[in-house]
Amino acid sequence: MIDRDQIIGEDELNAYVDGELPADRRAAVEAWLATHPDDAAKVSAWRKQAELIRARYGAIADEIPPQRFNVNRLTRRSYGAIAAAAAVIAAFVAGGVLGWTARGVEVARPSDLTRFTSDALDAYRLYVVEVRHPVEVPGDQRPHLDAWLSKRVGSPLHAPELDKVGLKLVGGRLLPGPTGPTAFFMYETPSGERFTLYCGRTGDRDTALRYTTGPQNAAYYWVDGDLAYVLSGPPERDKLHSIAQAAYDQIDRRVPPQQGG
């Protein structure tokens, strides 16, 4: 029998909405709601909220995840960065974190992020206005450019082909960077809009794309293997993002796992 005098509280109403109540309590709550219209209205508002949330975000789980979430690829990348992993473990030990527990996991400390991004944007601003000598090696000598910069930077790298996103390689040059010699590639749209890719060695772990912006230009930063990349261009986020994504996908595909270059 249902106790008529028993008050049903907020916690139980919530548990009722979420299907967390055993059958007998469910019946008690239903009986309560039949005679308490205020609580019944509350329950129906909460259900409506849940519907709104599901209507707004539910469909995302039906999308095919982008290529960047390919587990094999992420595994290869994560095991490749042994030094980085060691640094993580050291940080865990230093922090006194035990076991696998994710509580206390630190977000990647973007130590190179600021330096790389600000140097890359400086280089972008310096060379993007250059009409006669924007690059040292022109884009039609791509194999030479790749070989030279790989050798100087100390890691196999390639100027990505970005024709699909409407960019033609102008060429590249070598620059001093925050961690040593750095490769700098310049691209151009048919209308003369310029984008640059700045690339040097880093001890940072792999990161997802990071965005930063100013009034005149903006940049995406990411780390792939032992290289940090900064794509700089006009502050149009969507466009910059699609270019960064294209470069990111291609760089990963072109550098073979055995690092043969």
Binding site: D18, I53, R54, Y57, R68, P110, L113, A208, Y211
Partner: protein, 162 residues
């Protein structure tokens, strides 16, 4: 592909959904999902069985909490939220559910989303958040009453600020 990898793979669509609702920004959400996956894959040797899905939700929830802290320390590199551009007038949806979520404290938002969007039980949410079930319940109750107040209470005062 190992069983562990398989479990991670099948969890990705739901992780993206949860992250999107948690951050209300597509790009930030996918960044966090990627960080979550990289971390999980790297820590495979530290994972001694149990519920892979709950573990992934735990990592993601913590990464987002850390992200919010990091952002408050590093304003210069704070990502722009898509929703910033859209905080326009009623034609952009006015006080919709996404803005209602914005108003919540992080732990309340995460508790609510894990229950209503991801279908976790109270017990599972308690594990993800590392708190007793009673705390989960009070977070849910507070989240719901705050959203309700936001959605119906404040609508008449809505006006466009130019």
């Amino acid at each position: 592909m190992s069983e562990f990898h398989e479990h991670i793979k099948v969890a990705i669509p739901a992780l993206r959904r949860y992250a999107r609702a948690l951050t209300r920004d597509a790009e930030t959400a996918d960044d966090i999902v990627q960080d979550t996956l990289v971390r999980a894959l790297r820590s495979e040797h530290l994972f001694h069985g149990g519920d892979t899905r709950a573990w992934l939700y735990t990592i993601l929830t913590n990464l987002n909490r850390n992200r919010l802290r990091t952002l408050s320390r590093r304003p210069a590199l704070a990502p722009i939220k898509d929703s910033d551009a859209a905080t326009g007038g009623p034609e952009a949806g006015g006080r919709d559910i996404s803005r209602a979520l914005d108003e919540l404290a992080e732990d309340q938002r995460s508790a609510l989303l894990l229950v209503v969007l991801e279908g976790l039980t109270y017990r599972e949410v308690a594990e993800v958040q590392g708190v007793p079930i009673g705390t989960v319940m009070s977070r849910l109750a507070r989240a719901r009453s705050q959203i309700k107040a936001y959605l119906d209470g404040e609508r008449p005062t809505l006006r466009r600020v130019k």
